[in-house]
């Protein structure tokens, strides 16, 4: 109440201009929190007074931003699936364990099954493709099985996946006999992180294509709205938003490109190819393949959520399960589908996670279920169901990871780090509740 009057009196025109942008205020809040966290760590990792530290801090360096993004990918991929699970009023506690099982299956497929039993030569491209296919299949089947128990047998998802947490963690143990499996296939490892990047030129190509796609989408959306005579935003507002998005995409690419491959590492890369590195050559990493994978997952999941019947039914079922059923939606089968998607995304998370390590370890993905749920919830997914966004979950994962690695950089004690993350989770949900009460949605 008082807020409205205050800001209204301050400058009504600025407010009107701002409203014309029709931005999602919740998204803005999350971005604000993220920026605040980044700037805080930037100051704390820098020297001198605040202004100097903002410039010379270690947090917002290309190197750290690069690391931050590749550390976020695995959890962010799974968080997009968790959005669907939580939106349909379920929960999945088994994602970390399922990731471990998928990781173990893929590791065994590529290090033992394919080369030793089927006689494929190490490095054969079929190996990594088959490993991912087998892992995906396992993830989808296990997810579907859990979804079947929830949807058709009526066992609460909390129980099914709590059991799954124990089962799949130890199925992974069984498959690997508790050993670390590796080294993994060279190509497979590239999906994980620092070893697999697009390089500067292709990164720019991807960035520019993405920018063009964003502009085309904005233009199309506006044209279609006009074709139906719906009210549209003013042209300048569309321009501002499009400009911001393009700037963000290109800025992100420029940052990742600015992280230069260390000279010695570059030399070794040339050596393995049997070439000699030209003197004074500088090369940037560019976009990691894992980030491309995350972007692809985010785009597909957003399209599913907003533009397909499946997505509509997921949100309708979360909003009112009875209404969904009375509208002829098969909510039981929908539950199976949602958990199958989650399983498949756990497998993708396993690909990125194990590829980044180069091995499949016994404890891979431990506590990931909590990180994934926290990412989705911080990203605005309501546990009551019916509300949540894919981009929110990814931003939530990014916020969690920034907090964690930022505190590690500043030198906060390990127990304190987890205490802070726990408090932030509760606080984020509390703020969201207040926000929803105020806006009434």
């Amino acid at each position: 109440m008082s807020d409205d009057t205050l800001s209204g009196a301050k400058s009504p025109t600025a407010r009107n201009l701002f409203n014309a942008l029709q931005l999602d205020t919740r998204l803005l809040g999350m971005i604000g929190a993220f920026v605040f966290i980044c700037l805080t760590f930037q100051v704390f990792t820098g020297d001198g007074n605040i202004f100097k530290a903002l410039v010379n801090g270690n947090f917002l360096t290309p190197r750290n931003i690069f690391n931050l993004t590749i550390q976020t990918v695995s959890v962010a991929i799974m968080a997009t699936g968790m959005v669907f699970i939580i939106v349909t009023r379920h929960i999945d506690l088994s994602v970390g364990a399922l990731l471990a099982t998928c990781s173990a299956i893929m590791a065994v497929t590529q290090t033992q099954f394919m080369p030793q039993w089927l006689g494929f030569e190490l490095g054969n491209p079929l190996i990594w493709i088959a490993a991912i296919a087998v892992g995906l299949l396992a993830g989808v089947l296990i997810g579907a099985f859990q979804g079947w128990m929830v949807g058709y047998l009526g066992i609460p998802a909390f129980i099914v996946t709590l059991g799954g947490l124990l089962v799949w963690r130890n199925v992974a143990w069984f498959i690997t006999s508790g050993q670390t499996i590796g080294p993994l296939d060279e190509t497979f490892k590239k999906i994980g992180g620092i070893g697999g990047t697009l390089g500067t030129t292709w990164s720019w190509v991807v960035g520019i294509l993405a920018a063009i796609a964003v502009l085309a989408m904005q233009y199309n959306g506006r044209k279609r709205a006009q074709a139906h005579d719906f009210p549209t935003k003013p042209l300048w507002a569309e321009g501002v938003i499009s400009g911001l998005m393009v700037a963000m995409i290109l800025g992100f690419v420029a940052t990742l490109n600015a992280y230069e491959i260390p000279t010695r590492r570059l030399e070794r890369m040339f050596e393995t190819r049997g070439e000699i590195m030209p003197d004074g050559l500088v090369a940037g990493y560019g976009i990691p393949y894992s980030v491309l994978l995350l972007i692809a997952v985010a785009v597909v999941m957003t399209i599913v959520a907003q533009r397909t019947r499946l997505g509509r039914y997921i949100f309708a079922t979360g909003g009112n399960p009875d209404a969904a059923e009375l509208s002829g939606i098969n909510t039981r089968f929908l539950t199976v589908k949602v958990f199958a998607i989650m399983g498949g995304l756990c497998a993708l998370g396993a690909v990125v996670g194990s590829a980044r390590l180069g091995f499949s370890t016994n404890d891979i993905g431990t506590l990931d279920e909590l990180r994934v749920i926290a990412a989705a919830v911080i990203g605005g997914t309501a546990l009551a169901g019916g509300v949540g966004t894919i981009y929110g979950a990814i931003l939530g994962a990014l916020i969690m990871q920034s907090l964690q690695s930022g505190m590690a950089m500043v030198g906060v004690d390990a127990p304190l780090q987890n205490i802070v993350v726990g408090i932030v989770l509760v606080l984020a949900v509390f703020v969201d509740i207040i926000y929803r009460k105020r806006t009434g949605d």
Binding site: A225, H228, R312, D441
Partner: protein
């Protein structure tokens, strides 16, 4: 006599030993409004939920246009152009009006994606007819008033060329002006040849809107009558006592004269 639009014959359904609907037969002709009356728990809502596909009957037959049909799910009911406005409205509160209107029957683009713009355009068209004041096309339904929510639920039932309309207490949550609008709508739909089952507690409503009425008690039909053949008091007697008056055709649930004495 013409074939009834819908005929439900000897319907029964039990929940945990309780016969919620017990050997009930009702029918409905084109252009007719039939009121279903009875206490809470008399079995009215359960009966119409069988017709709308929400429940599956234990026994009994349903005929549409004289042909026997199997209604096993809400989809089946919709396929026979049976549309229902539930007492709870059955709206997904987190979605906007057009998403609710087309829920389960989305319009899609040639690529198979949901065509939001086309759905919004259609929603705007039908809402302009039903409730010209309706403007909140982008708000989630929970942000709407009771009357606006009701008009979304009605739009959903009417939009898809319903031939048989089931209205479960359509005016219970409405103010006088909105109740008037619903009454006018029922008259209009009736004139178009739809058959309407109207569940209501308001005897006054039933007499002003319905051609016939059927009264249920303890899962059974007490009797059916033309509204012109019975009085308010007769109907109250049917609801409260299960006593079938002279002008009505007694059902299995009617007090026998021996009981009455």
């Amino acid at each position: 006599m013409a074939t009834p639009l819908v005929e439900m014959k000897d319907m029964s359904i039990s929940f945990g030993g309780v016969r919620a609907v017990d050997n009930v037969s009702v029918d409905l002709y084109p252009g007719e409004v039939v009121g279903l009356l009875g206490h809470n728990g008399a079995g009215k809502s359960t009966l119409i939920k069988i017709l709308s596909g929400a429940y599956k009957a234990d026994s009994g037959e349903v005929f549409v246009d004289g042909k026997k049909v199997e209604i096993e799910s809400p989809r089946d009911a919709r396929r026979h152009n049976i549309e229902t406005i539930y007492q709870t409205l059955a709206l997904a509160d987190n979605l906007d009006a057009s998403s609710n209107l087309f829920l389960g029957r989305e319009l899609t683009t040639p690529f198979g994606f949901v065509d939001e713009h086309a759905m919004e355009a259609e929603t705007r068209k039908i809402m302009a007819k039903l409730n010209p004041n309706f403007q909140k096309f982008h708000s989630p339904v929970k942000a709407l008033s009771g009357g606006q929510r009701q008009s979304v639920a009605i739009a959903r039932a009417v939009y898809f060329n319903a031939r048989i309309l089931i209205m479960d207490e359509p005016t219970a949550a409405l103010g006088p002006h909105e109740t008037q609008m619903v009454s006018e709508l029922i008259q209009e739909l009736k004139a178009q040849g739809l058959g309407i089952f109207l569940i209501s507690h308001d005897i006054h409503d039933v007499f002003s809107l319905c051609d016939r009425l059927a009264v249920m008690k303890n899962g059974q039909v007490v009797g059916t009558a033309k509204t012109t053949d019975v009085t308010d008091d007769d109907v109250l007697g049917m609801i409260i006592l299960g006593k079938c008056p002279k002008g009505a055709i007694p059902g299995p649930g009617a007090l026998s004269s021996a009981d009455a004495a």
